[in-house]
Symmetry: C2
Subunit: 244 residues, 2 copies
């Protein structure tokens, strides 16, 4: 999906893994200026609220893109494994799951639940980026759709940093509202491990491996653009560019 990363020949497991890690980690949104401001305690309440609102729209796309991934697989064992992700976000029953935890985060930063869930205040560019993620998953081969989830490799570190930063710098946010970040640390580790194993096993040709790297890069662009939009709307300085 991106000619710039076309590989000339297939990489071995170690080299392919290293390529995914390096392309992903240097573009991951933990380096985004908005996250830096957030983790240094330099965001005001409206900026944190805007981030929670806009990221909520991203959260609502997760079970949808995961169901599309399930629909792409011919393997019941893979589908069983991946279905877990939908349950993680939608819950085993009403009142559970990541979406409900994100609504609690919304309450903890002072957002009205109905307004949050309506997504009325979501910025247009955020919507475009999140919808582009669903479209990527809908239109690309299974292995690339799975590869686009590999940003989860870097999520546990970001979640740990975020938890510490919020507890230190934003004491007005009820700590119980941070449960989503806590829950994602083990979930993202398990998810990343499963997705990596699948990608390593199923992307064997140069074209497949290039497609996976491109899908991961596109995903980092989606996450990065989400923060660009929130940053431009909420922070009184020039909008952020790409990663340095």
């Amino acid at each position: 999906m991106n000619d710039a990363v076309e590989l000339a020949s297939a990489l071995g497991h170690a080299a392919f893994l290293e390529r995914l890690r390096s392309e992903g980690s240097r573009r991951y949104h933990d380096r985004h200026p908005f996250h830096r401001l957030m983790h240094e305690g330099r965001l005001d309440r409206p900026a944190l609220q805007a981030w929670v609102q806009n990221r909520y729209y991203y959260q609502t796309r997760i079970p949808i893109k995961d169901a599309l991934i399930v629909a792409k697989s011919e393997d019941p064992a893979f589908r069983r494994m991946w279905l877990r992700r939908i349950v993680d976000h939608d819950g085993e029953d009403a009142g559970g799951g990541g979406l409900v935890l994100w609504e609690r985060l919304g309450a903890a930063v002072g957002l009205d639940r109905d307004a949050l869930v309506s997504c009325r205040a979501v910025l247009p560019g955020v919507r475009f980026a999140c919808d582009a993620y669903v479209e990527l998953v809908r239109t690309r081969p299974l292995v690339e759709a799975v590869a686009s989830s590999l940003t989860e490799c870097f999520a546990p570190g970001l979640m740990s940093e975020r938890l510490a930063a919020w507890e230190t710098h934003y004491p007005w946010v009820d700590r119980a509202g941070l449960e989503y970040f806590r829950s994602r640390i083990p979930q993202a580790s398990r998810d990343a491990e499963q997705a990596l194993a699948f990608v390593l096993a199923h992307a064997r040709t140069p074209a497949e491996q290039s497609g996976c790297v491109a899908a991961l890069i596109r995903k980092t662009e989606i996450l990065w653009h989400l923060l660009d939009c929130v940053h431009a709307a909420c922070v009184r300085e020039a909008p952020a560019g790409g990663p340095a």
Copy 2:
């Protein structure tokens, strides 16, 4: 999706329900000549094997079309409800679920498992019909995709009839192999009830209701065509036409 059934005005719940039931039941494949031969004990072993093989391909499409339906919904409660269907077919773990039960049915009629699962022997027309079902679900609105599942309203009766007929007429088939049919009786009843409630609640305009009726009719055509193909390939008489 079918101008022939365009409604002039929206029907009330009772009339809409009656319309769905009458359009579905008169086209349901329990009336197909191949099913009549099957239930009268007039199929030979190769014909039963061909049916089990070809219908297996249909079975493999079910979790895929259900994941597409999950991906169409914005409601975590609906997704939780519908996810159950994927689990019913793929199993809670390896060794469980409807696909494995169908493989046991294959063994019970004397099919080699690897050949069955490979779907090499599936008739082209069966493949076209089953793929058309997945495409219908992929491309139509959620409520129509759900309506296409309403053939399940008529499945428990057919399953009961089939169980009795196989036990009577095909004693060479190990009864343990019929567990799939047994398991579907309560599952199909629950599924049909949930789907009917959703369709009644969400198809309110003439266009939505017409779309649901058309989707259900298309689904009956898919099921009917599957049997047309197996009948033409296995039964020594003229291929069946549409329902009388």
